[in-house]
Symmetry: C2
Amino acid sequence: MAQKIFNAFYAQSGGVTAVINASACGLIETARKEPNIGKIYAGRNGIIGALTEDLIDTSKESDLIISKLKHTPAGAFGSCRHKLSDPAENEKEYLRLIEVFKAHDIKYFFYNGGGDSQDTTNKIAQFSVENDYPLVCIGIPKTIDNDLPITDNCPGFGSVAKYVAISIKEAGFDVASMAKTSTKIFVLEVMGRHAGWIAAASGLASNHESEAPHIILFPERAFDEKAFLKRVKECEDAYGYCTIVVSEGVRDQSGAFLADSGTTDAFGHAQLGGTAPVIANLIKENLNLKYHWAVADYLQRAARHIASKTDVEQAYALGEAAIKMALSGENAVMPIIERISDEPYEWRIGKANLSDVANVEKTMPDNFISQDNFSITDACRTYLEPLIMGEDYPPYINGIPDYVRLKNVSVEKKLKEF
Amino acid sequence: MAQKIFNAFYAQSGGVTAVINASACGLIETARKEPNIGKIYAGRNGIIGALTEDLIDTSKESDLIISKLKHTPAGAFGSCRHKLSDPAENEKEYLRLIEVFKAHDIKYFFYNGGGDSQDTTNKIAQFSVENDYPLVCIGIPKTIDNDLPITDNCPGFGSVAKYVAISIKEAGFDVASMAKTSTKIFVLEVMGRHAGWIAAASGLASNHESEAPHIILFPERAFDEKAFLKRVKECEDAYGYCTIVVSEGVRDQSGAFLADSGTTDAFGHAQLGGTAPVIANLIKENLNLKYHWAVADYLQRAARHIASKTDVEQAYALGEAAIKMALSGENAVMPIIERISDEPYEWRIGKANLSDVANVEKTMPDNFISQDNFSITDACRTYLEPLIMGEDYPPYINGIPDYVRLKNVSVEKKLKEF
């Protein structure tokens, strides 16, 4: 009697990136070559798709369409911000997942996300063992925040890093041109609520302290207004202008986000703006210098047009590795990036236990931030530089990237509504 | 006796662009091949360099370095915001210019800028004729605002247009992924104080009304809060999310900038923020939908990494044409782009009199904005599409574009301080 072939569930979780679809592409393309894996069912909007039995049949998409996922940003199947609580608190959700997986012959569970998501993956792995449903659970890392432990870096980060470094370099050239009679200050706000990796990456734009960014503000350091304004003035005196990259997560000495401190709208409601306008206004108030500011927001994490080739390749390889691990009898693990050498940069796929990954946040080490708190060290540069290496341009049609939209055909439901 | 060879003055004026250096490159490379033009002296920081006799000797830069200007954003010689007043009001400045040009054997004047700058070029041309100093004055168009008359389009605009269209497309994919449980509204603020060309270009991202951008807000139309909120709700109902591109210059029914209307900082000072946060907050207050917003600011006009190939080629060709026109006996003119056909797109260099260019601002024609005021028409699309065609990627080193910094060696001064 032939061995029964089981299906797989794949879902995207949390904030999306420029390369999470490259992981999906690696996973689906690899699975299509594996006779021991049936269909890949994607969760529509992450784990919610599993809970509501809202599954997408990826086999309805041609090989060509799936290959285009590699150069398409964001989450092709929809993502979600929904954290499962502990099985002890909400067993219903876990039982429902198993019910859905049973109904659709799913014995492989792949969850593509950050720290919270890998905690979820781990809980599902444990629960399925305890409830005697043999489900192979593999996490696939993803986060622009680069804050997962064990893995050398996280897919999604390298492309944001490249975007941010290029953007501040370009804006720096602009401000340098204008500074004589106009704008002398430029502030770019980047993502990173708790970890300063993205802000740090902007430092790759500069080969000399005269070049942008002149000042980086990290969430790992409490904002020192006096030292900051002194440094701004020094830069303006020395170079005629000053460019600043500020992490959205920068806090004042009391621990409050700067973004929350400055602004109220006409109706008195707080938190209208971001951190960049607060910083720009502080400079205006104290030094009376003409400023511009930018908030990159989603543009930075969706910027597939200038994705890092290293990042795309790693994201794809991690999706591929997830399938291989699942088939080799692993469970409750996550493929990771291991760095073999800095220069020439070499990396390989490694493996972490989900229990070691879940709920650990990796912020910048102290020796990556300069003594004055305003720039990155050589050690940081050595770490970051390979991650933005190479360009991986998408194809264009009529001047616009040819990003793919899937049909996302639903799998017929077999169960009652949840 | 051999004919005396005279030098040329070139300067960059106003807000810089991703391709103004491509015009400089076209001008310098062409001049180097012309035996009847001596050295090109660039004004350090625009016309201020001429007034202060702060001239840069471009002959000190190698051919290789000059060729790299073609892929380097912003103004390599520095720009300025300094408008000469009328000769009748401030003859001193004009006399000084002629004094400097005489001292350095300069008989060609090239000014690379927008409407104000071409007004200046025209005044200098008239003044030099009236004062019997034979100075050939040629304007070279440049403005991301695309608001110069006569020319079909302005160099600098096509690259901003491409950046904005790609950015909203990418952000649209992101929000579509997140909308189920998180962000449903995304607002991107783009430049354009008086003319909506840049905002309009975002419409090229979309092939269907379901795609980003769902709403474009033009400065040519007074903001209608009620109609706007209705449309936002319609999009959210129909597609699950809504993306909006807003021009910084959008005004309310009373004519006040929206950017000025909403925000005060903790000290009660107005105008901290941009238009995007005001729009985002309006939606939050009225529809209670989770939002993100971005302000691209200088990132959009400096984004040489994703410049339009059409734009780069035209900027270069206009610099080249300026030299040819100067040598063919023209004066007080500006090379322009003439469109021969839409599809296939064909263009050639034409010519405009500076007197027809100066102080005329070209806003969007009525038939380029849809009846409901929230999108672009097919006529607009036909006009815009060729301008973002093609990619012209800069070379990269270590993951970062290899933009050039010139030595900018000063010419020895011969005159007293001004």
